[in-house]
Subunit: 255 residues, 2 copies
DNA sequence: ACCTGAACACCGTTCAAGT
DNA sequence: ACCTGAACACCGTTCAAGT
């Protein structure tokens, strides 16, 4: 709580070399280096998001990590909301979408979905950041381009390609949103909530909740990876069948 | 910005009857009545959520609407987070799930999804509230019970019923989450972002974004209701086919 | 061109004190 | 049992001022 000299202080110690007996706090080597680029701000923000969650991500916290005051950030980014825009696009850029391999478009689409899920699980609170944001940054555009390439190369007609693309990312978002709600606490070992929920359901009045009680065991029986694959099967399978149906219909009509 | 006398004031006007020439601000009649029940707090919070969004929903704002200070709320609710729990469950309670009609289970499941979407669109920011929350309140349990009843009465085996139920609400959440991102501004007439996005995409370098540009028109062509119905078809259709497959497989194995 | 300290108008929450 | 004012430790953002 007390101010540590030379850590977040006023800069009066700048000219002094570090006294050799002071235990240097690990990253002290950076010390007033790299002149606060926009990129450095985004990377710092992402690190804080991962380690402390969206709650812990404040301008003051980012600034502290960069050895400055919060006000200094506003020359590089317009606002916290603007920073979150950059953060969102940065994370989208982490996904490496493969080149189209037409006969494998269904499997490739599933790969895209698995990649999205993995990215969200790696940066759990990013889905909260994405909430009110339309993905329109440079990385988001490249991402869209490459996913659409897979669908169109696979022979999916344009209207279904767009709807399928938009629905897929929305659906994966929904799944992981639900999934990340389960274990909020940062370093909590084991999950009390999953089994606790099952026990709680089992203790409910039988007369009022016959169905819920009957299936209580199933809530924790299927694991999440399996459930995710089921979702992909339902969705991508349905999309493929739709493509086939439309092809059949338009062939029948034109010939 | 200036304080209006007698509207959010300190309560010194309590004994005075309302002067007949003052235009009474519609609900001024309440005036220091009902002794701040938990329910009143929740309802006030929901009204603020709807009119001003989650951003505008602060303890102080809720208290103001109830003619008190923020501190007074803490005797009735544990914390703001606790209030959001109550708010979430309250909104879930708005959904009226029909009694099972076994042969119509697929259509009924779609109805459940449409109801969920309508509820979210009626309280747009509720999806942000639901973010880290596991639906375990009394209304959520009743809701789960009734949806599961529809699935099981329809002959869906327990494991698929649970997965199907969980996936459906997640998927609808994802869809509406995406949908509500488009027009954030409160009373904005017309949507600039939809067409603006299309125009922006059209202005991109052809060489880098051939697919995105080719389908630019499709982004705004299909309307949201239609896209939502497509999602329901893909999902519920897929689930039904899965049920049939499993039935066939288990019959084949046992006989 | 880039950074800073101090201030403004907010937050959620606590706590001693009132009735 | 219920409510209150004042305070605490935070926010995002602005702005005059420094180099």
């Amino acid at each position: 709580m007390a101010k540590q000299a030379g850590t977040s202080g006023a800069g009066t110690t700048e000219a002094l070399p570090p006294a050799p007996w002071q235990r240097t706090p690990q990253r002290a080597a950076r010390r007033r280096r790299d002149p606060i680029t926009q990129e450095a701000i985004v990377e710092t923000a992402l690190r804080i998001l991962d380690s402390e969650g969206l709650e812990g991500l404040s301008m003051r916290r980012v600034a502290e990590e960069l050895d400055t005051g919060a006000a200094s950030l506003y020359w590089h980014i317009g606002s916290k909301d603007g920073l979150l825009d950059l953060l969102f696009d940065h994370v989208i850029g982490e996904q490496q979408i493969p080149d189209p391999d037409p006969p494998r478009w269904q499997e490739q689409l599933k790969e895209v979905a698995r990649l999205q899920r993995a990215t969200i699980l790696r940066h759990r609170d990013i889905v909260a950041v994405s909430l009110g944001r339309i993905p329109m940054g440079p990385n988001a555009l490249r991402y869209s381009e490459r996913v659409l390439a897979i669908l169109r190369a696979g022979g999916v007609p344009d209207d279904l390609a767009v709807s399928g693309y938009l629905l897929l990312i929305a659906v994966v978002n929904g799944f992981t949103l639900d999934e990340t709600a389960d274990e909020q606490p940062g370093g909590d070992a084991g999950g009390p909530s999953k089994d606790a929920a099952r026990d709680y359901i089992a203790s409910l009045p039988q007369a009022q909740f016959p169905n819920l009680i009957a299936v209580a065991g199933e809530f924790s029986a299927v694991d999440r990876d399996e459930r995710f694959e089921l979702l992909l099967d339902l969705f991508v399978g349905g999309l493929a069948r739709r493509v086939a149906t439309d092809e059949y219909r338009s062939r029948g009509r034109s010939k």
